[in-house]
Subunit: 410 residues, 2 copies
């Protein structure tokens, strides 16, 4: 095998911390034509770590460890590696100078952080205190990185060029992201493609309203042809080849067309706005919005009529239309989104079970509205995430292809 | 080793999907006194899967696989297991009946989903189509679960009782969550405790304003004593033993004291509200708020004075105070939170670099304000996440212990 990762830390196994490092690294590597072949999560245990690293070094050309380089007592990686490869830990003068410069006052507690195994190449940590290092043993290379994601990610800027110099690129790949489709609607077509092109692999991964396709081809010609065929078949559903965030496409469109957006949220409670503003540059088109979680704010800020709330309830087509129109008027925006639903686990009824969500899109000329079908029995965060993606998807198709929102059956 | 997990899927290795299953499973097991000892991520590759499962079955008493049970061409787990243990796949009549009942119209495409290895115990999937199963081979037990988190999680309700019957509980554990502290402030004390109590292990995991401590003790007496000592030492920083979401404590306090909260956000763009409303029951105290991303909404909805915006800029103590007071007035709430900053990567200046964030907390009597120190050079989402946690932390300490917000140095 080529590249293997060992993620270290009890907190990963106990589930207290999500292992985001593998995802960050996997994505970055993929864009350079490398793939992670195997990942092992190991606890902060000297002998298990020693055994695990040894085993991986026998199996793979590159072994990347993350974690266990910090200054506290449960950080063992440096010592394990020193013992395993019989390389004493020595103080790196450049690392020491850098740490003194950045952490003058705390330097005494950081002495240990200046040490790396003898004969290794140091990888500077621009953010934290723990340096990484690269060490070659027999035919394998060990790359040790810190476990804190932000630090690990920053140091990939040194790791990627190193791999590019020494590790052969053996495939070409891309991702394709589709909205409003389910696995069964694309799978048969993809399997036909796999039969047609030898060496082609297409993985499908559904996640709350987005279908991600991962295409790996043995050469660039095959990759381009396959992407073209998929694009032809699913044109108006295919929103990106780089990101699963459909809101990025909304942002691009809005900025290119000099339009503005506001929103009014009830059940999603800020999540919809947060997804829009998570993208740098959102302030160029997104004016903001109202989290009208209570009926009083729906009335006072969005001018929803108390009569509609009484007659139809906050989760209804009538109210969500008034919310969208009220939001549009707040700031003289070109487009508005509104959402109101029952995210659960409480608050459902026979008439309006958990997962009932109404959405609306308003422009200065017209307002579209409809029910958003979240998954039955879904958890609170899933109802909100799915509903938000759904609303973004139909807005994007409206902007991009003039496909009327809520008029299709999905 | 006792329990080992194999997570299956190219999408996990390519980083397109976060492996949340391990975290979900790890947390659930921990609360029952079981620990996951090792995790391996493997690709959708027949021979690598076969080899990986075989190796794990030799090493561990319980091997749990997740993923690869779906209906599409890249789902191989069922076939790998059938071949590895020479157990032909047979149609389970109860599973078939259940699938017919739930998915009548699509049943023809689901025929394959009724199959399980001969002699295995079926685990019903209440949400999706793929059944799981338990199979014993020599001294080891294999538990196969689907990879879709929601389905996997639902099926743990069958797995946990099975483990409780057959797998010995070998430790007692708890988590402790602290706010506003960094690793170095607690580590020396914890290492002293480890020396004092034999068999005690304490892991520390810092994450954006929260420090999680994972305590594992050989018996319940030791666990209780250690928790008591940590509690005494860090009393007003220790906010939970069950969840890293400090906003849960704010919600408890607000509901218990019949108080209400509103908020006004700029840089966090909805994230602060979204974190509050992610908790079921938030509507009992959280009235909502304004995402005043643009200056125009700051003026029209929160009545921030255009003069303050001109003189001090949107990211300033003056403006954040007016935002907090404006939010409070929106809905006659008891408390309000306001935040305004430069989340980056653009928009920074020498005077106000990326990461400059101002926060305010207003009540009907007084308003507190101050600078929130986000990490230098941090990414957009980290600035927002950290700042939100910081603001929640000082609000919680104010509510719980009457510690004045922004008056400490952290």
């Amino acid at each position: 095998m080529a590249i293997e990762v060992i993620s270290i830390g009890n907190e990963l196994l106990s589930g207290s911390v999500l292992n985001t490092n593998v995802a960050i690294m996997g994505q970055r590597f993929l864009s350079h034509g490398f793939a992670i072949d195997r990942v092992t999560l190991l606890p902060d245990d000297f002998s298990l770590l020693k055994e695990g690293i040894k085993e991986a070094m026998r199996r793979s050309a590159y072994v990347i460890t993350t974690g266990g380089l910090g200054p506290t007592g449960d950080d063992l990686t440096r010592d394990v590696i020193a013992e395993l490869f019989q390389r004493p830990l020595i103080c790196d003068r450049d690392v020491a100078e850098d740490l003194i410069k950045r952490f003058t006052s705390n330097f005494s507690t950081l002495q240990n952080q200046t040490k790396v195994p003898q004969g290794s190449t140091v990888l500077y940590n621009p953010i934290g205190t723990a340096p990484g290092f690269i060490l070659t043993h027999k035919k394998s290379t060990l790359i040790a990185l810190p476990g804190v994601s932000m630090q690990m990610e920053a140091m990939l800027s040194s790791v990627v060029p190193y791999l590019e110099k020494s590790c052969p690129k053996n495939f070409y790949s891309t991702s394709l992201y589709l909205c409003l489709l389910v696995e069964e609607q694309v799978d048969p077509f993809l399997r036909t493609l796999e039969k047609e092109y030898s060496g082609l692999q297409i993985g499908i991964c559904p996640s709350l309203g987005v279908l991600a396709l991962f295409v790996r081809a043995p050469n660039i010609t095959t990759l381009n042809r396959v992407v073209e065929k998929i694009t032809q078949s699913f044109s108006s559903y295919l929103f990106s080849t780089v990101s699963k965030r459909i809101e990025e496409r909304i942002q691009e469109w809005m900025i290119a067309h000099k339009k503005s957006l506001v929103c009014a949220e009830s059940c999603t409670g800020g999540h919809l706005s947060a997804r829009l503003t998570a993208i740098s540059g959102a302030s160029s088109y997104f004016l903001g919005g109202v989290v009208s979680y209570s009926n009083s704010l729906k009335i006072s800020l969005l001018h929803v009529s108390p009569e509609s709330l009484r007659s139809y309830g906050a989760v209804s087509r009538e109210v969500v239309i008034e919310m969208a129109q009220g939001a549009l008027a707040l700031a003289d925006a070109d487009y508005s989104l509104a959402i109101s639903g029952i995210a659960g686990p409480c608050g459902g009824s026979d008439d309006k079970p958990v997962g009932t969500v109404w959405g609306a899109i308003a422009t200065k000329k017209e307002t579209f509205s409809g029910k958003i079908c979240a998954q039955k029995g879904a958890r609170r965060e899933i109802v909100n995430e799915y509903s938000t993606t759904f609303l973004f998807s139909i807005l994007w198709r409206y902007l991009q292809y003039n496909i009327k929102p809520f008029h299709d059956s999905y």
